[in-house]
């Protein structure tokens, strides 16, 4: 059997002001009819570039410097534009990551589908509409006849992705390139979409290239897999072989770094050595600064004598106690005449966090996880309920004075390391800001020494303090964010999805770091994540949120072994995992 898509020796280069950057280096790849071929790798591995090269969407100034892309035996690279345009509209389709942006918000679903169908085949408007309806039905949308005339914003994320898939099927393609089709979706929806893709592939006997960073997804639905790293193929073969018995060290490490749902590990394996660091970085030192100095400083100055000897000792009073918390968001502007109508983001939340414990907060998007965090730190005004911190009443929202003790004792690490650091400040300015603000140091030399030491503590070179945030990768930025939270000498740390913007290997490093810090300093952490596996690795107890309501509170082991609530069971079932 000849391959549907055959990529031979493909190289893609991007000229930049630093010289030519090789995005793909001699890639060989074959995709057959009726199979799903997974491309997996971390960011920068070149997975999306392969998809873009096949469909001709390489971002300028990138270009194909060598190699061939054979589709049914025809070379797409040297093809003239008209023929190429025919093929890629008609026989190769693409499914993009974000269903929010891949549909035109100003046109109805019907218009978009009919236009695409009529573009490629000469059928009447009503026939095209019939075809659109049958396609939408095929993708599992219900109530199609009426919903087809609605606009994209009237559909949920998962439904929208189904519409995008229907759009890709419009022309009866032979090959579909799906670029992270489920990354923007919640786990329960992800499961359904993956099942849909798999059944389409089998029923229509088409080839699918599935690009993803999630090795769990690969394990779930692909037949073949190619592991990529820095634009090179590391390993390729049938999925069961590659994942079941990885030949390459990198594949093994990549799998080890994925947090597991079925058991708790002490530490993750460290895959990537920090090869970005050069001797220039490590040679630079501030006198007497070291990680040991930082930990000593953090431990000594900390006022709390009630360090817990054992974790989760329920005899202690909770460090933070939230009772009856409600947050209502007023929809839009209330206006001068209209009555305020509200949307309840959180309803009657009761949570206790004990000293030295990690409380995991789980929930899908829109469940109110982040709102809970913001209510605790005072960014959001609750509409009802009260909070106690270390036995004292914690004034909510705007009633909390700027000089309130809790503002130092509660620190937060945010999700997006690209927006949580001020790009116009050096790392030294960023980290020393809390030190100066809370008067934690007596003089400038001392502050500098502290900044350098804390950087060491979060496993960054001291020289980093001279640079700006944009010179660092996502994982390094997140370390800087952790360092900034640490220098305030907090007793309570809120981590809002701290690793969801990071690659698995970087995630593993950061989780290791957080674990170490938590154990060394006995921090209490509220750890928010949508990723159950991460929660399993980090949390002592778990709280499940759904639509702003508390569904279940349980110890981690108990939760993962025998969840009591039906919703929790469903969540656990739907998370893709690496177990065989």
């Amino acid at each position: 059997m000849t391959a549907l898509l055959n990529i031979e020796n493909l190289s893609v280069k991007f000229p930049t002001r630093f010289g030519e950057f090789t995005a793909l280096d001699s890639i060989d790849l074959a995709v057959y009819k009726g199979e799903i071929h997974g491309l997996v790798g971390e960011s920068g591995a070149g997975k999306s570039t392969i998809g873009a090269a096949v469909i001709g969407l390489l971002q300028s100034p990138g270009y194909i410097s060598a190699g061939r892309v054979l589709f049914n035996g025809d070379d797409l690279v040297g093809m003239d534009d008209d023929t190429y345009h025919q093929i890629r509209g008609d026989r190769i389709s693409m499914i993009f990551q974000d269903p929010q942006t891949s549909l035109n918000p100003l046109l109805t679903i019907a218009t978009q589908l009919i236009e695409t169908i009529r573009q490629h085949s000469n059928v009447s408007r009503s026939d095209a509409r019939q075809k659109a309806i049958s396609l939408l039905k095929e993708t599992g949308l219900t109530d199609v006849e009426t919903r087809i005339d609605e606009y994209p914003h009237q559909f949920s994320g998962g439904m929208r992705q189904r519409v995008v898939i229907a759009l890709a099927l419009c022309t009866d393609p032979e090959l579909i390139i799906a670029d992270e089709p489920t990354t923007a979706l919640d786990v329960s929806v992800q499961k359904q979409i993956l099942a849909l893709i798999k059944s389409l592939c089998a029923e229509r006997n088409i080839g699918i290239v599935l690009i993803t960073h999630d090795i769990g997804v690969i394990n779930e639905i692909t037949d073949h897999v190619t592991v990529l790293r820095s634009g090179r193929v590391i390993e390729t073969g049938p999925t069961a072989d590659v994942l079941g018995n990885p030949a390459e060290e990198y594949t093994r490490a990549l799998m080890a770094a994925v947090p597991r749902l079925d058991k708790r590990l002490d530490r993750f394996r460290n895959i990537v050595s920090d090869d970005e660091l050069n001797s220039d970085d490590t040679d630079w030192h501030i006198q007497d600064a070291s990680a040991a100095y930082a930990s000593q400083w953090l431990l000594s100055n900390n006022s709390s004598q009630q360090r817990p000897s054992a974790k989760s000792d329920n005899n202690h009073d909770p460090i933070l106690s939230v009772s009856g918390l409600e947050v209502t968001f007023n929809s839009g502007q209330p206006g001068w005449f209209g009555k305020e109508r509200g949307f309840k983001a959180l309803t009657n939340i009761n949570i206790d966090v004990f000293p030295g414990e990690v409380l995991g907060v789980v929930g899908e998007s829109g469940s109110g996880k982040s709102t809970l965090a913001k209510a605790i730190v005072g960014l959001v005004n609750p509409s009802a309920g009260s909070m106690m911190f270390k036995g004292d009443d914690l004034p909510p929202g705007r009633h909390r004075s700027r000089k309130h003790q809790a503002r130092r004792q509660i620190q937060m690490v945010f999700q997006d390391p690209y927006s949580s650091l001020n790009n116009r400040q050096t790392v030294e300015d960023i980290i020393s800001e809390p030190i100066n603000f809370y008067n934690l140091s007596t003089n400038k030399t001392d502050t500098r020494k502290l900044v350098a030491s804390v950087l060491n503590l979060v496993e960054m070179p001291q020289r980093a303090m001279l640079k700006y945030p944009h010179q660092f990768s996502g994982g390094q930025r997140q370390r800087i964010a952790v360092a900034r939270a640490l220098v305030a000498q907090p007793e309570f740390l809120i981590c809002d999805e701290p690793t969801s913007a990071l690659d698995v290997s970087i995630q593993a490093q950061l989780l290791n770091l957080l674990k170490d810090l938590q154990q060394t300093f006995g921090l209490s952490i509220l750890f928010i994540s949508h990723n159950l596996a991460v929660i399993r690795q980090m949390a002592d107890r778990v709280v499940v949120l759904k639509n702003g309501q508390l569904i279940e509170t349980a110890g981690t082991e108990q939760f993962f072994n025998s969840p009591s609530d039906q919703y929790s069971q469903q969540l656990l079932r739907e998370t893709p995992s690496l177990t065989f």
Partner: protein, 305 residues
């Protein structure tokens, strides 16, 4: 061959884009020549146009030096007073640029402060200030400037007019341009305000003024820089217009606008050079500054690339 600027440009994206944009380079060169010539006018100009004693009425209305009856002392001719036109243009540009720079500084400080506060604080302050801005925007800038100019002339004692005119002009032009800054800064502040680094500062309990000026302001300087260049051209043009209308700088210190006004009277009697050269100077300068502004806007906005 790696020269120092190539190495430097690799570190700095703006510099790299500049080195690869011939139009921007040309515009920068011309703008630099205009500004340099204006700033150094006391040393560069062949004569001092303000010095009445040096003027000779016999030299009046001499055409440029390359025409048949030209005089090599006056490269591009003289005006009706016998003033060397080249010197007058250099001095005039200096005055125009001075007023332009002062008023744009005034407008940007006012506009950025108001915009930051409106964007960050929101609520009632935002509503009131932005309605004022809307009202202001519905009046043409030249009308606002004329209005303020007229009021100032009415209030100030007559003998102080000439000495205070530059200040009045600065305020008048500045007040008609601050809205651009305020609106842009407010919009950018809205975006920045919701970013996590601002929330970090809020959680810490920092003073709102510190958050606004230390944290948000440096992050929104890009758009401000763009308006600064574009509006500098507008301010120079406004000054020229006001002077052309006769309500600008005092006549004994001619600016570009005054020169053009004087020139128009001679346009139909054959003395074309009196109006053409100051106008050409004004247009060249405005266009080159505008092109620079456009370049900055494109370079600082990654989405346009």
């Amino acid at each position: 061959m790696t020269t120092w600027w190539r190495r430097w440009s690799r570190e700095n994206e703006l510099a790299w884009l500049f080195l690869n944009n011939r139009v921007a380079q040309l515009a920068a060169l011309i703008a630099l020549l205009c500004i340099g010539g204006a700033a150094l006018s006391p040393w560069l100009a062949p004569s001092d146009p303000y010095d009445i004693a040096s003027l000779d009425i016999m030299d009046s209305l001499i055409p440029p030096a390359w025409s048949d009856i030209g005089d090599e002392r006056f490269l591009i001719g003289t005006d009706d007073q016998g003033r060397d036109l080249l010197s007058a243009i250099l001095y005039g540009t200096r005055l125009s640029l001075l007023v332009g720079l002062l008023s744009i500084t005034f407008a940007s400080v006012l506009g950025v402060t108001v915009g930051l506060m409106a964007g960050y604080l929101g609520g009632r302050f935002d509503a009131i200030v932005m309605r004022i801005a809307d009202i202001q925007l519905s009046l043409p800038a030249i009308l606002t400037a004329l209005l303020i100019d007229g009021i100032a002339r009415g209030i100030l004692p007559r003998d102080k007019h000439d000495s205070l005119m530059i200040v009045v002009l600065t305020v008048a032009i500045g007040l008609s341009l601050w809205v651009n800054f305020a609106r842009t800064v407010r919009a950018s502040t809205f975006v920045e305000r919701n970013k996590e680094y601002v929330q970090v500062s809020e959680i810490m309990g920092m003073h709102p003024l510190r958050i606004m000026f230390v944290h948000i302001l440096p992050n929104i300087l890009g758009p401000v820089l763009v308006i600064l260049t574009v509006d500098l051209a507008v301010a120079v043009l406004l000054e020229a217009t006001l002077s052309f209308l006769g309500v600008g700088v005092p006549p004994n210190q001619p600016s570009l606008g005054t020169l053009i006004r004087i020139g128009t009277e001679y346009m139909f009697s054959g003395e074309w050079w009196i109006v053409i050269f100051p106008s050409a100077m004004l247009i060249t300068m405005i266009i080159s500054i505008n092109i620079l502004g456009d370049f900055l806007r494109d370079a600082l906005n990654p989405r346009l690339r």
